[in-house]
């Protein structure tokens, strides 16, 4: 077959379309595999009973609670810090050395491997601050991990708010803080919420950082200082040790479903509210 432009065009198209379909197919394959093997385990008992016998029997209730608590700490800490940083960068300063340093820090934080976050969380929160293996240690470590994401999405959201809103507010005698709290925050809220939702998804999925900071105790966490095992950690331990494949798949299926819901939710937010502002 001659290498004419038409032929290479056809060939290229075939390859490229195959790659796209391949990626979509891969996603479906992985998800379907986990969901098919895992959803049969997802009954009410599984979700509300705690693990027993090191996870060989029982459900995953304590790990669900563990995940919720750790994620909640992470979001409660990271959101104000991240959104506040984004507002500072966009509203209170011009581009200059200060903003560059802050952005550099955020981008660097985004690239640090999760296992290194685990090391940091261990040596700083667990040991140095004496918090021990706990929901608090795990949540605070995750907070630092998701901080860059929240800063980035919040900043993007704030930048899409039309400049004129600020001029209108100032011309009516508004101060910077009044303008932020009166107009800009509410206008940027959908985009900010999207970032927070994605941060939640990240927290649910994280394993390496959590296992070194929140521990792996199967007991139901009763306070911020209790050790806790999250679903991701539980899944890892079940799978690695071969303790119970059935329960491993069930845990994975639950995680996948949650993350799917989160992604769909974030997309709905973006399509419904963020596109509008223009």
């Amino acid at each position: 077959m001659k290498l004419t432009p038409r032929n290479s065009e056809k060939f290229a198209r075939t390859v490229i379309w195959s790659a796209a379909f391949g990626v979509i197919g891969l996603l479906f394959f992985i998800m379907a595999y986990i969901l098919i093997k895992g959803t049969p385990s997802l009954n009410w008992q599984f979700l509300t009973q705690s693990p027993s016998d090191m996870g060989r029997s029982g459900g995953i209730f304590s790990t669900v609670i563990g995940t919720l608590m750790v994620t909640a700490v992470a979001i409660v800490v990271a959101t104000p810090l991240g959104v506040g940083t984004a507002f500072y960068l966009t509203e209170y300063t011009r581009e200059g050395p200060v903003t560059r340093i802050i952005r550099f820090s955020a981008e660097s934080l985004a690239g640090i491997p999760s296992i290194v976050y685990g090391l940091f969380g261990f040596i700083f929160f667990v040991m140095y601050l004496g918090l021990g293996w706990s929901v608090l240690s795990g949540g605070l470590t995750l907070a630092v991990m998701i901080l860059p994401t929240i800063i980035r999405t919040s900043e993007e959201a704030i930048l899409t708010v039309p400049r004129m809103y600020r001029e209108v507010s100032f011309s009516l005698g508004g101060t910077r803080w009044q303008t932020i709290s009166g107009v800009i925050f509410r206008a940027a809220l959908p985009g900010i919420a999207t970032g927070v939702i994605l941060g939640i998804g990240r927290s649910i999925a994280e394993t390496a950082a959590v296992i070194l900071t929140a521990g792996s105790s199967l007991r139901m966490p009763t306070s911020l200082f209790s050790p806790a095992r999250t679903m991701a950690v539980h899944f890892y331990i079940l799978a690695r040790e071969g303790i119970s494949m059935e329960r491993a798949y069930g845990t994975a299926a639950l995680m996948i479903i949650l993350i799917l819901l989160i992604n769909v939710g974030a997309n709905v937010l973006v399509n419904k509210f963020v596109a509008r502002g223009r």
């Binding site: 990626v23 979509i24 660097s108 800063i151």
Partner: protein, 281 residues
Amino acid sequence: MTKFREKIAQRGFMLVALSALSALALITIFIVAEGVPIIGKVGVLKFVFGMKWAPTQGYFGIFPMIVGSISVTLGAVILGVPIALCCAIFLAEYAPALMRNVLRPAIQMLAGIPSVVYGFWGLVFVVPAIRNYLGGPGLSILAGSIILAIMILPTVISISEVSLLALPPLYKEGALALGATQWQTIRRVLVPAAKSGIVAAIILGVGRAVGETMAVIMVLGNAVAMPSSILDPARTLTTNIGIEMGYASGEHQQALFATGIVLLIIIMILNSVAQFAFRRR
């Protein structure tokens, strides 16, 4: 009264904005503080290039892990980048709106799947496949590369796509007006023009691969010896920490922190190069 509140708001925001910098500083300080003593004791060269890792016997050479990391990452790039570029080109140039609305969320979802799930899936599918068709224990560098290739797809695709979309439409229109086919335009004009962005995407993908732990820990086999082929099991810098941190103490633990320092340095270098490449576009 409002002036006072205004001052407080400004100071408050400024304090909050320093959180990212403080976090970075804390991480660097504590990791370095914990890891430097052992590097000082063993010596930088012996640590980085030492061939034997047996902490209980006093051997702290991480070179086999470095080789493991490099091999796995290289494999991931070779397997993953071409597919990622095809998808990026697809999204930027060929995809009808319907396909875009399917592929983009799919990539987002791929990015959201927990790495442990990828690792497990690799353990259940990829490892036996390698063992049956290619030999060896199955737990191997190849398995790790395949899993990591899938995991870096979202990163490389999204940044490459952005770079392609950012090109002035003039480039494409000019080429097409001269009679080039779509593929010719892409190959000869658009991709070269988006080169720095694509390079940045690949570098960030490399960074992601180097930093990944849980996905590879289950498929890599965790042999401490220096691997000699892609079918051999191995350890990476990250899986080394992941496996041993659970029971390490004293100097052993310090050595794992020292490995963390090495990872930090690698990531910093990769990030800086990627930033540089990204800014040039």
